[in-house]
Assembly symmetry: C2
Homo-oligomer: 208 residues x 2
């Protein structure tokens, strides 16, 4: 009755919460999706790759895109720009895809303001701060300073979890993946207000 | 990590949308739930029964309960009171149940204001107004005047469907039941803000 349409799933949570592992684990079971890669002006770190971790661009390019209104959302963190390009998201939505964002609490609020009617948001967190620290140290890709920075960000962001529709505690990966899959499949059922309005207009098919 | 807790599922939609049939169809598959029966002062109609369709009470009793703050929500429609008693809902929530409300658009807003963090709302509708009319006439329990009244209410309420988290078009009962079950199971994953706050306080288990 209402045609297929794209929807949004926002995933936030500290680096080390296991977002990538979770998405990989459920990627075959949630239908056709598009993972929105963020764009940043911060320098590429050891172990990172263009088009995998971020789109890495210069400050000049980023500012030009801001001026052209090419971002769905963007923010400055420690003097670096981070943003989500609008065009590929619009494209994926028009194809009826589930668009997955891995963005922070600022980004979540921005997406909610622009695409609230089709957005489901999830904050993913390790069970405790010490467990987060253990995971970050274990993967040993990051310097001590970067780990420390990630922990400070996590301590700030965890204070804003009630801005999310769901909180998923990633203690056991299998359990968390099951929960995430359940939420992602239900997120598919959101209908944009514009389509609901069209439906309502067609609904009154007789004069009373 | 976060203990089991009760959540709310609001179902609205015209009489004739198939809400009762849908709940019956999925009742064995959505876990332990409590169906919240509304209280009303309107006279019992032919075919209705106390404790099945409503709790039927006198105006005096209803007003006494309003004064004692015993209602989660209440409203006046055509001079009659309709309301949801708070006590059984609190009890069911404390037992970790899914509490299902069959209430109108006014009731939905009231529940959202009081229990928004654990509430998922669904508007259920037949595909068209003429189909609604056909269903109401077919079941022949209602007089012509009552059918006409239900249709007028439906025409007003359909205008407010975007106040709901989901809209379910009950065209095919099996399809609609599948969608409803999916949403109900995900509704279970909502966590009240108060429990999230407790979790966040426990989360910082080390000094940084």
């Amino acid at each position: 009755m209402i045609e297929h349409n794209g929807v949004v799933l926002v995933l936030s949570g500290p680096s080390g919460a296991g977002k990538s592992s979770l998405i990989n684990k459920i990627s075959d079971e949630i239908g056709d999706y598009y993972f929105s890669l963020s764009t940043t002006t911060r320098p590429m770190r050891k172990g990172e790759a263009e088009g995998v971790d971020y789109h890495f661009v210069s400050k000049e390019e980023f500012v030009k895109d801001i001026e052209a209104d090419n971002f769905l959302e963007y923010a400055t963190v420690h003097g670096n720009y981070y943003g989500t390009s609008l065009h590929p998201v619009r494209q994926a939505l028009s194809e009826g895809k589930l668009v997955i964002f891995d963005i922070d609490v600022q980004g979540n609020m921005a997406v909610k303001n622009r695409l609230g009617d089709i957005t489901t948001s999830i904050f993913i967190t390790p069970p405790t701060l010490s467990e987060l620290k253990r995971r970050l140290e274990k993967r040993s890709t990051d310097s001590k300073e970067i780990i420390e920075g990630r922990i400070q960000v996590a301590r700030r962001e965890i204070q804003r979890t009630s801005e999310y529709d769901f909180i998923v505690i990633n203690d056991d990966l299998d359990v968390a993946a099951k929960v995430l899959k359940q939420i992602a499949l239900t997120a598919r059922l959101k209908i944009p207000h514009i389509k609901i309005n069209e439906f309502v207009q067609r609904w009154e098919d007789i004069e009373e």
